[in-house]
Symmetry: C2
Subunit: 305 residues, 2 copies
């Protein structure tokens, strides 16, 4: 029994109104894997890097209990690199540089030791690679969560629709839900998307929280209002990793458990944005996580007699 | 003991992607008064209309138990008229016509029978008129709630700041909180605004719900996701009216009660947007209101063991 995370492990260079970084470690699988590791100790990664990727970073994954057997290291090649600049509102950003490098011909090989995977997190990647991973698993996982983004809706909608058919939970943001469904109302958008394959839809709304849709049920989770959002990079991946890590820990797929999983994912994402890159979510204590979760509980609790 | 609502009682002509209306009854005091009447049966209005305002509408107020002794009817004059057109996102709108008419020289006279007012709702109006009402009350009410908007920040900021000093609760939207404070982060914005006078700040975020700030405490209420928002006009006024009506009903000022008041206000606002104008909130049953409140309870409830 294990949790498999696929996605990018990469370098980012980030500029926000609060400062800028040189190349730092980022990538969907990095954030999601680290987040999941706080709840579940059998987390495994499939990803690809070049030999420019520091061994010390791989050691950090292992220190978090993350299995890196499926992390391919391509000799003489360079890791995926993304550079972006956030606007003052921290909600929109410009991509400055995208160098695919090793990602250009990434073939997601699943080590034999990963075939016990019961929980699969498809981090943001081309829908085709996400689909290949599903097909290479001998047994269909108990829970498949897929994250994606507008970029794939723009350039690979058919592949995306095919992959979406195969997953249990789709996580996208509100603009993406509108784009995917052609509906402005998120209720109508969700109803449409729930006919495309996923049984659960999570709509991420950044500072406004997240919505979970399943059959005719809706759960609305608030985001923790923060004095400072330092760097939003990886918040969505961290959310998704925390979500599936918590689900793997509790082991039963239900709307009830997913509501809690969203709170735990949101709590980790709220840490993620407090520092550049993975700095904050690499070094959390159990007490910090559970205190933050309690803040979420307090935040939206009310009692109507 | 009573609840006094001041604001506009007026005509609106509204165009949304779903249709358009002729002149229909609207205005902040109309929406807030009707909303408050569902929770509190001693609601009184101070406002001004022309003699073009239908007697049947005044009879409707009275049928809701609303005292209209303070509703001035100006012979030979016309009621305030606003016309607007909502964009497809229903969050932004263009004002097409504003005819002040009777509002141009509105002098808010408080009938003697209103001097028992313990709860005061200052609906959106010029800050100067709002202030005059506070000064004309012989005893300071137990709770003063003030609604305002960006328009007054643009043209009457000094008056606005003076009036804000005198109130307990300020309700504004997120963009207005940012404008008033000069802070992008709503946490920082709230901290600043809470030094300007109000002890409580409610930031309305439309489809994203509302935030209540008090000292170092935050409550985040979700909005009910709706398949169709037919007409957002009056939703903020309805929210504020429901909020103060509930507070008047429970009678004790506390963060705990305000959290519930926000849920009741949100529930009424969620009805308001389902039809044009006051159509929906004029004709609600007790069962409809309490079922809707239960939907809000379900929407954001989770249990972390």
């Amino acid at each position: 029994m294990s949790l498999l995370v696929i996605g990018t492990v990469a370098f980012d260079a980030i500029e926000t109104p609060f400062g800028k970084t040189d190349k730092i470690v980022g990538g969907a699988a990095t954030y999601a894997g680290l987040a999941a590791s706080y709840f579940y100790d059998k987390t495994k990664i499939v990803a690809v890097v070049g030999d420019d990727f520091p061994q010390s970073e791989i050691a950090d994954f292992n220190a978090h209990g993350i299995d890196t057997e499926g992390l391919q290291i391509k000799k003489g090649e360079k890791s995926f690199f993304w550079s972006g600049k956030y606007h003052n509102d921290m909600n929109s950003r410009d991509t400055l540089v995208t160098e695919l490098n090793v990602l250009a011909d990434f073939d997601p090989v699943i080590p034999e030791s990963y075939q016990d995977c019961e929980y699969l997190m498809l981090g943001n990647l081309t829908p085709q690679i996400q689909q290949t991973v599903i097909k290479r698993l001998k047994n269909r996982p108990k829970l498949i969560v897929m994250d994606t983004m507008n970029f794939w809706m723009d350039i690979a909608m058919d592949d995306l629709l095919e992959t979406i058919k195969l997953v249990d939970v789709l996580t996208i943001n509100d603009a993406e839900a509108r784009q995917l469904s052609g509906e402005y109302s998120l209720v109508k958008a969700a109803a449409k998307i729930l006919t495309m394959g996923p049984k659960y839809l999570i709509i991420k709304k950044g500072e406004h929280g997240a919505l979970l849709f399943h059959e005719d049920k809706i759960f609305s989770a608030s985001a923790l209002p923060l004095a400072e959002v330092f760097d939003p990079t990886g918040a969505g991946d961290t959310f998704a990793g925390g979500f599936i890590g918590y689900m793997a820990k509790v082991g039963t797929i239900s709307f009830h458990n997913m509501k809690n999983a969203i709170i735990f994912g949101s709590a980790l994402a709220s840490f993620c944005v407090e520092k550049f890159g993975t700095e904050k979510i690499k070094n959390l204590t159990e007490a910090e996580v559970s205190n933050r979760v309690q803040q979420f509980v307090q935040l939206s609790a009310f009692e109507i007699a």
